[in-house]
Symmetry: C2
Subunit: 187 residues, 2 copies
């Protein structure tokens, strides 16, 4: 951020009075431009023993597999966001059963919220952001070609929980530990 | 938003190619300024049969009572945000038990995430954003002087759940219905 979106003057990165963090503050009108993490919301669409996956037609991770998910938009709820992303990326219709996985990614300022969902019918097809959409059993999941750690951990939780028949909420963080990213599961 | 924060030129509110929503797009450098909902993260600090409440020393809702909560900051996790807000607003230390309430407020582009927590000791006091901090039993909660609907619904869920001794995750929305705001509970 270089310029104030309200008046066009230069911004300075400084601690405003009464604050403890550096913010972008306008040098002319004084507007404080707060920045906050973004929510990535998606679904785990289930049909019998299979999960609906999408192969990405966009960067980042073009060609790799993911669950339908994307940035939450203004004016919608998290359930609406999960339903919309599933419709847009997989042209699929779901019934949401509940919030299933919340993963923090503090290094990239994102919070993932993944909802467990029933796929309502087999009428699905790739949306503009997908190359391919398919249903996979646990053995068919392309574990080495998944786009994001958040997706791998969501699928891992699901296949483990399915054995017990219980689907508690999972909370975790993906954080940098030296050179690598590690998953810390809170519950 | 009137000016591009990257180059300072005018922005136009238009649908970018391949998109379905209007965004602020720079008329000179073409930068698309996406806007997304913000997370408000907080805690429900519990000590025996009492809950820690803070009386707000800031607008909006100056003088009314709330649970410790605030906008999640860049670089932190939701648990860290809940812990920090509790420390800042009530100078209190907590142990977080789990995610308890998620409430969407699509009209104001916020998602509340409230964590159930144990207050670790009685060493608390008002932070700079609070006038007063106190522990309240259910009967002592100032129900008519609560700052936000999200706080009232979180407290309602808690006192009902406490009777059953079970604390499932609650998901809901606060949405406009005619002149009034109503709470729709998903689970």
């Amino acid at each position: 951020m270089k310029y104030c979106s309200e008046c066009g003057a230069d911004v300075e990165f400084q601690v405003p009075p009464g604050d403890e963090r550096q913010r972008y503050v306008c040098s002319r009108c004084g507007y404080i431009h707060y920045q906050n993490p973004r929510l990535v919301v998606g679904s785990l669409p289930i049909w019998e023993d299979r999960i609906l996956l999408c192969r990405r037609a966009i960067e980042p991770r073009y060609g790799l597999w993911t669950l339908p998910a994307g940035f939450m938009e203004l004016g919608e709820t998290t359930l609406e966001a999960a339903t919309r992303e599933t419709r847009e990326e997989a042209r699929a219709r779901i019934h949401i059963d509940g919030l299933y996985v919340v993963i923090n990614l503090p290094e990239v300022n994102q919070v993932y919220m993944m909802f467990r969902a029933e796929l309502l019918d087999l009428d699905f097809s790739p949306g503009t952001e997908s190359l391919e959409v398919k249903l996979c059993t646990e053995d068919e999941i392309p574990w080495n070609e998944l786009a994001f750690g958040t997706i791998r951990h969501t699928l891992n939780h699901y296949f483990l929980d399915r054995r017990a028949g219980l689907y508690p909420l999972h909370l975790g963080d993906i954080v940098k530990d030296g050179e690598h990213y590690v998953y810390r599961s809170f519950c």
